[in-house]
Structure formats: structure tokens, C-alpha cells
């Protein structure tokens, strides 16, 4: 405290007042500073204690089971800061976890308010094991071990001050917890990625190598499932619980799940080594981050290592996004979704029920299918569905212009507002709406964006494994036998392979994933067969447009289309009409080719064209050889199409070739 030297006169009262004010300010400042420093010191101490306990918690949190049981702790948001701090490392994985554990925690938190963080997860862990049937067995076994350990600790430390429990509880949890590596350290057949190609390979391996032990390692929390229904059949289901059951009706009326096999098909990773007849085990929620080709082993994101004899990389890809959206800020990003996985389907379904307007950017398969699916919903709910793309019409890169235009008209009939030749310039969030500005000046206002602008193949392992990445098509470069290097094969979306007949390419279709996965599996068991059986693909855009295709179907190639002249009887009918859409390629297995009932309504004529492209076949040519074929509303003829491409002959008159398809018959 200073006392201004008031003595000496000069200024008298003013001076005194001045000194008093300065003094008071000084005093106030000093008191404030002192308190702040003290408070900071206290906070620092708190923080140090938390950090000390955090590394232990993080280590214990590695096994997926832990993440599942700890995750709820984040959502429970206990009043104690401690919870928040420690749960932070798990916040990211927590976001991916299913919601069932969360309600479990919320129920348990009231009864145990004063207890440290491990106890809410403990009861939650017990409750979380039922809600997570899809995970492999290690999960339940780990969680059940946690509660017993935590309980005695809970009782003991309930009396201790809030900060202390963190450390001892965690240590106990770590001791009682099983070591993170609850799966085999060696897998004779290691499949990286848990999608269609991987599953097809697993099946192939098991068929050819009796008693084979196959380990699938997947980032996703789900067992292998098929993707096409996510943008088609599931949206047409009448079942309100379809987002949970994930079941759909096939073209033959039979219902099935999108999962290739129920959980009972698989064995748990721990059983893999000991199972008498081997089996297929799936390790979910794990990512392979490093591959040591020399040592024949891989490293997972939790630092565990798995060695292999034969390895398949079937990592697929991640959806691309538009740069303008990524740079547009959080508010736009929060209202933008990509679409590929089950969680994306669930999220979009939810959005479609709440939003008033959804815009899909992208005019290819996925974009058009989603637009049609949502468009159908729009008739019931009043949802506005907009689809924008740079091409002139839907499927502009696949279908020749006249057909692309025709398709676009059909899509519009499904209730979609199509904005063609749209190049996105900027996206902003304004007045509670997402505003998309196009380069030509048009503006589209919407609530939510779905970006379906392509797939980026996942080649993260290329560097560590020393694998070649293709610069033209992306993906891992492999030979005709799908081999990248000795003991390493690649299949599915991520494989840029050499097609003996059609040249080097990379194919992003479901049937290709199956065919290439199966081939890789065969070659991993010694077959040495090249890619020869041409895969096909299909698309359904509403009840009127359905087509199957094979080979290189690129609209920049010259095409020859042969169409049946429309008669009153020729209503464009797709297998969709029978009983909901079905996995088109499946229809080829069924010997009974169910001919769709001929509707009595006359073919709807396109407004300004006298010819209706009801059904026909379109040939794509490269140097006069047919390299691609589209079967437009004609079904069950894929084998003929496959044969023509396989032959690779020059045909003088394609009309004669078209005769082979009998397009006038059903």
C-alpha cells in the first residue's frame, strides 16, 4: 500500500483525492492479482492430477469394449470435471459407438452421483453387453470383468475426496482388465477391410481350404454387409423400424438382412486359433495403420501386431466431398452428409424426416438413386428434394445423351427438382438455410446437403507396405490375378487391376467386389486365375427405369442403341414393380425367371419425342469392338451380354447382335 507523499502541500485537496484514487486502484489490482494467481495454482494442481490419471485411463480404454463402456461416461456428463477430462480421449471413438450404452449410463448415473468415473461405466458395461450383439465375444467378457473390479474400488474410495479416486480406481481397472490384445497374433489369412470383397474372399477361402482360419479386420463396428440396399431397397421398405432391422424385401418377395450372414456364422477372434475346423472371425473397430511386408505383419491402430501368411487388402474407399463445402465452415459442414455406410443411412433417414429441403450434389449412381428414394418420400412428407450436378442429365457420364435426358425426365417424375449443368461456386449458411451459389448465378437454398461426388480409394497402407498406387484410376495397382506383391492381393473398390479383355481399370460396383473378392480368395488358396468373369452392375431409378450393365459403360464412347418400337403393351417394367426392388444380379441365380406382369396401362410417351425408350440394348464401342453393354429394361440376359464382351469380336451389324437378346420378349 502506497501512501502518496501528500506532504509538501501543492494541490492540497486535489492531490489527496488523486492519491487516494490511485491507491485504491493499486490495492484493488493487487488483491485481484493475488487471487488469480492463487486460483490458477489450484487449477494447475487439479489439472496435473487429472493428467496423471489420464494415461492410465487411455491405456485401459484401448480395447473396443472399454471404449463402448467408457463412451457413455461422456454422454452422462457427470458434474465432476474429472469425468469430462478423462473421457476426452475417448470422445472421438465414443462418437462412433452405438447409442444403446448411453441410456444405460443415464440410468445408472443418478444412483451414484458422488462416485468417480469408473463406476458409471461399470454398471453401464453390464447393461451395454446385451445392446451390442454384433460385436464379437471379447467385448462382453471384458466388460463383465470390469464391474467386479470396479465395485470394490467404488466402495473403498467413495469416502475419498473427489480428485484422488481417479488414480487408484484406474490402476485397479487396468490391473483387472484383460490385456488389450484379445485376438490372435497370427492369422493364416488376413483380410483388411470388412466389406463385400472381403466377405466374398473369406467365403472363397473357406470353400477351397478346408479348415481355413480367416481373420477380417474392419474399421467399422458392423459385420460385413451389402451396400446397394442402403440407397435403394431400404428406402422403399414399409417397415418403420427398418433403420434398426436393416431388412429389405427382394424382388422375389423374400425378406433378408443387409448383413451377409448373421453373427452366428462367424467365430470370435479368440477362438480362431483353437477352432477345430477353423472359421471366419471379424475384428471390428480396428484399423490397420502399418504394414510390414518383409516381416509379413500388420500393425493396428492400438499398436497390436498381427502376422499373416496371406493378406488381402479390401479397404474400399471414403466418399469425396466438394472443396467448397469443406472450406465453407462448421455450420455448412454440420448440414452436409456423405453417404456410404450404415450410419450414413441412419443419419440421412433421420434428416429426411426433419428437414424440409434436401439437396443432393452429384448426378451419378448414388446421387440419382438417393434422389429417387428421397423423392418418393417427398410425396408423403412434403420434403423438397433437389438434385444438382455439372452434367446435362442424370447419369450423364454413363448414358448416351438421349438416354440421359430421358432418365432425367423420369427422375423429375419421382418428385425431384433437377438442377442440371450446375457447378457449385460457394456454399454459405445464411438465415438458417444453406445457400448454394452456382457459377452461373443461380442460387439454391436448402436445409441439408448430401454430397455424392465420388469415392476416394483408401490407399493408406501403400506407403508403409511399399505398394504401387495407380495414378490414372487411383487405388492399389495389381496384376490380372489381383496380386500386388507376393502374399498380398487387393480386391474391390480399392483395386486397380489389369482386365485382360478391357484393359487396366478400377471398378466401384457391388458385383465387382463379389467377383474380385472371390477371385482373390481363390488365388490366395493357389488358383492363379486372372480376372476373366466380367462383373455386372445395375441401377433402378424409380418404377420405370431399370437397367443392367456390364463392361465399360462410358458415355464418351460411341454407342449403338437398339430399342423395341413401343407398342401399347410395352410398359417399361423393372423387376422393381413385382414386389419392391431386389438385388438385380440375384435374379440370375433363380432359375425361375419371373416375368413381370404386363401392366395394361399404355406406355407413357415422353413429352417431346415420339419414340419411347421402353426397352432395348445399348452397345458401347471402342475401336469397333463392343466393350460395354446396357440392358435397358430387359432382364435375365446378362449371360449373353457377358459372352459378347468376352469374345471381343468386331461385329459389322450390331442390329444382328441385338437380335440375340430377344428384346421383344419378356
Amino acid at each position: 500500500m502506497s501512501t502518496g507523499a501528500a506532504g509538501g502541500g501543492g494541490g492540497g485537496g486535489d492531490n489527496k483525492l488523486y492519491v487516494l484514487l490511485v491507491g485504491a486502484a493499486f490495492l484493488g489490482g493487487g488483491v485481484y492479482a493475488y487471487q488469480t494467481v492463487r486460483g490458477d495454482k489450484q487449477r494447475y494442481q487439479d489439472r496435473l492430477t487429472e493428467i496423471a490419471s489420464r494415461p492410465n485411463k487411455a491405456a485401459a480404454g484401448q480395447p473396443s469394449a472399454y471404449i463402448q463402456s467408457e463412451a457413455p461416461a461422456v454422454e452422462a456428463t457427470e458434474t465432476e470435471e474429472v469425468h469430462e477430462q478423462v473421457s476426452e480421449p475417448q470422445a472421438a471413438p465414443a462418437a462412433e459407438e452405438s447409442s444403446p450404452p448411453a441410456p444405460a449410463v443415464e440410468e445408472s448415473s443418478p444412483p451414484a452421483p458422488a462416485v468417480e468415473e469408473s463406476s458409471p461405466p461399470a454398471p453401464a458395461a453390464e447393461e451395454s453387453s446385451p445392446p451390442t450383439p454384433a460385436t464379437e465375444e471379447p467385448a462382453p467378457s471384458e466388460t463383465t470383468e470390469l464391474p467386479p473390479a470396479a465395485e470394490p474400488v467404488v466402495e473403498a474410495s467413495a469416502e475419498e475426496p473427489a480428485e484422488q479416486p481417479a488414480a487408484p480406481v484406474v490402476e485397479d481397472a487396468v490391473d483387472s482388465a484383460p490385456s488389450p490384445a484379445k485376438f490372435p497374433s497370427h492369422a493364416p489369412y488376413l483380410l483388411i477391410g470388412g466389406g463385400t470383397a472381403s466377405f466374398a474372399a473369406a467365403r472363397s477361402i473357406r470353400a477351397r481350404d478346408p479348415g481355413a482360419r480367416v481373420l477380417i479386420v474392419t474399421e467399422e463396428p458392423d459385420l460385413p454387409y451389402m451396400r446397394p440396399p442402403l440407397s435403394k431397397e431400404l428406402w422403399f421398405s414399409d417397415d418403420p423400424s427398418v433403420t434398426d432391422t436393416l431388412r429389405f424385401k427382394q424382388w422375389n418377395g423374400k425378406e433378408r438382412s443387409i448383413y451377409f450372414q448373421p453373427p452366428s456364422f462367424y467365430i470370435s477372434p479368440e477362438e480362431l486359433d483353437s477352432a477345430e475346423n477353423g472359421g471366419v472371425a471379424v475384428l471390428t473397430g480396428k484399423k490397420v495403420v502399418h504394414m510390414d511386408v518383409r516381416g509379413n505383419k500388420v500393425q493396428l491402430n492400438d499398436d497390436t501386431e498381427i502376422s499373416y501368411d496371406k493378406c488381402l487388402i479390401a479397404t474400399g474407399g471414403v466418399p469425396r466431398n466438394l472443396q467448397v463445402i469443406e472450406r465453407a465452415g462448421d455450420e455448412v459442414m454440420e448440414r452436409t452428409s456423405l453417404f456410404r455406410k450404415i450410419e450414413d443411412f441412419k443419419a440421412l433417414d433421420k434428416v429426411s424426416r426433419n428437414a424440409k429441403s434436401i439437396t443432393i450434389i452429384g448426378g451419378g449412381f448414388l446421387g440419382s438413386e438417393l434422389a429417387c428414394a428421397l423423392g418418393r418420400r417427398s410425396t408423403e412428407s412434403g420434403l423438397e428434394v433437389i438434385q444438382m450436378f455439372p452434367e446435362r442429365g442424370n447419369m450423364g457420364k454413363v448414358l448416351p445423351e438421349y438416354l440421359s435426358n430421358w432418365t432425367t425426365e423420369k427422375v423429375k417424375r419421382e418428385g425431384v427438382k433437377v438442377v442440371a449443368e450446375a457447378l457449385v461456386k460457394a456454399v454459405t449458411y445464411k438465415d438458417d438455410k444453406v445457400e448454394i451459389q452456382l457459377k452461373d448465378g443461380r442460387v439454391v437454398k436448402t436445409d441439408h446437403i448430401v454430397a455424392a461426388v465420388g469415392l476416394e480409394p483408401s490407399v493408406d497402407l501403400a506407403k508403409s507396405a511399399g505398394l504401387e498406387v495407380d495414378s490414372d484410376f487411383g487405388g492399389y495397382r495389381v496384376n490380372a490375378e489381383l496380386q500386388a506383391r507376393s502374399n498380398i492381393w487387393v480386391a474391390g473398390d480399392a483395386a486397380c487391376f489389369y482386365d485382360i479383355r478391357l484393359g487396366r481399370r478400377r471398378v466401384e460396383h457391388h458385383d465387382h467386389a463379389v467377383v474380385s473378392g472371390r477371385l482373390a480368395g481363390e488365388n490366395m488358396t493357389g488358383a492363379n486365375k486372372p480376372y476373366w468373369h466380367q462383373s455386372m452392375f445395375w441401377s433402378d431409378l424409380g418404377p420405370d427405369v431399370g437397367y443392367e450393365a456390364i463392361g465399360i459403360v462410358d458415355s464418351s464412347l460411341p454407342t449403338v442403341g437398339v430399342f423395341a418400337k413401343a407398342t401399347a403393351k410395352d410398359t417399361p417394367k423393372a423387376a422393381t414393380e413385382k414386389s419392391g426392388t431386389g438385388i438385380r444380379s440375384e435374379s440370375e441365380t433363380e432359375a425361375v425367371a419371373i416375368s413381370p406382369v404386363a401392366s395394361s396401362t399404355p406406355a407413357p410417351t415422353v413429352e417431346h419425342h415420339k419414340d419411347d425408350y421402353g426397352k432395348g440394348v445399348i452397345f458401347y464401342l471402342r475401336d469397333k469392338v463392343v466393350v460395354g453393354i446396357i440392358l435397358w429394361n430387359v432382364f435375365n440376359r446378362m449371360p449373353i451380354a457377358r459372352k459378347i464382351i468376352k469374345d471381343g469380336e468386331e461385329h459389322a451389324d450390331l442390329n444382328e447382335v441385338a437380335k440375340l437378346f430377344n428384346i421383344h420378349e419378356d
Binding site: 463385400t196 466377405f199 466374398a200 467365403r203 473357406r206 470353400a207 477351397r208 478346408p210 479348415g211 427382394q250 433378408r256 451377409f260 450372414q261 448373421p262 452366428s264 456364422f265 467365430i267 475346423n277 472359421g279 471366419v280 445423351e401 438421349y402 458385383d511 467377383v515 481363390e522 476373366w532 468373369h533 455386372m536 460411341p558 449403338v560 442403341g561 430399342f563 423395341a564 418400337k565 438385388i583 444380379s585 440375384e586 440370375e588 441365380t589 433363380e590 432359375a591 425367371a593 435375365n636 449371360p639 449373353i640 457377358r642 459372352k643 469374345d647 469380336e649 461385329h651 451389324d653 442390329n655 444382328e656 447382335v657 441385338a658 437380335k659 440375340l660 430377344n662 428384346i663 421383344h664
Partner: protein, 167 residues
């Protein structure tokens, strides 16, 4: 009569039923039955069983795969008058296994099975699978063939005895 139109590089032809009545003059390359690259049906040219045939679905790869393979192999090579009558033990073992996984091998009616699994009925020279008193063996392929069928159908040979409209 057919009409032809050109739109840039694309040619469009409209044809009536009459236009397409005459047989096609397009020539297709003769198939080589021993082509090593081709996808095979259930029975390989060597006479062995192709366990990887899409027509089998997941039968040979599932938890009961081994039992299935043993039973079916025994049946396939059986020289008895009533084919497979010497394989009852293997079939029993397979059925026992399948009963442990009802989710994978649903117990359906014989009749329903035969209707829904025509491709396995006619798939091979051995139509016995359908006749055999192991209900599940025929229903399971149907169950499984759907999952990864995408390539199954793509396979022209599995039902060689029936025409899917191809050569």
C-alpha cells in the same frame, strides 16, 4: 421396318418384333469347355466338386462347412444303387451341426424348399440334394446364395441343365 437415327456419335435404332424375327447372323466364338479361366459350375471338368460354386451359397464355408463337404462328397462318389445310402452317417453329422445354428440353416418344409431352391435341384447331375432327407441342405443354399449371389447369377454354368437363355 426399323428406323435409324444418328445423334452425334450415338446411333439409335428402333426395331419391331418382325424386324428381329429372322435369326441373328452375328457370330459368337465357340465356347471351350476346358477353358481354365472360366467360372465353373458345381462339378468341375475333372469330376470333382467345386466347393466355391456360387450355387452352394455359404454351405461349404460356414460353421458346418466341413460336415457339409464330407456328406456331399460321400454322396457324390457313392456308387451304391441308392446313391448316398452309404453316407447316412455323414448326413446325420451334418444335420446335427446345422441344428446348432438354426439362424444359418433354417428348418423349413420340404415342399417350400423345393419350390424356393430350384437352382440347387437342377444344378447338378445329382439332383439328390433335394431328395435327401436333410431339409436344411437345400434351404440353406437359398438362404446364403442371396447374400453373395451377385456373382452367383453372373455364373452362366451352374445350371447347365437349364437354360437361362444363354448358350
Amino acid at each position: 421396318m426399323s428406323s435409324v437415327r444418328e445423334e452425334g456419335k450415338d446411333r439409335i435404332i428402333f426395331v419391331t418384333k418382325e424386324d428381329h424375327q429372322a435369326p441373328s447372323s452375328a457370330e459368337l466364338v465357340e465356347e471351350d469347355p476346358n477353358d481354365p479361366y472360366e467360372e465353373r459350375g458345381l462339378i468341375l471338368p475333372s469330376g470333382e466338386i467345386n466347393w466355391n460354386c456360387p450355387c452352394l451359397g455359404g454351405m461349404a464355408s460356414g460353421p458346418c462347412g466341413t460336415d457339409f463337404k464330407e456328406a456331399f462328397s460321400c454322396f457324390h462318389y457313392s456308387k451304391e444303387e441308392v446313391k448316398g445310402s452309404d453316407c447316412l452317417e455323414q448326413f446325420r453329422a451334418m444335420q446335427e451341426c446345422m441344428q446348432r445354428y438354426p439362424e444359418l440353416y433354417p428348418q423349413e418344409d420340404e415342399k417350400e424348399r423345393q419350390e424356393s431352391s430350384p437352382e440347387t435341384d437342377q444344378t447338378t447331375q445329382d439332383s439328390a440334394p433335394a431328395e435327401m432327407s436333410t431339409p436344411n441342405s437345400t434351404s440353406a443354399p437359398v438362404q446364403d446364395s442371396n447374400p453373395t449371389p451377385p456373382s452367383a447369377p453372373a455364373d452362366p454354368t451352374p445350371p447347365p441343365t437349364e437354360s437361362l437363355g444363354e448358350s
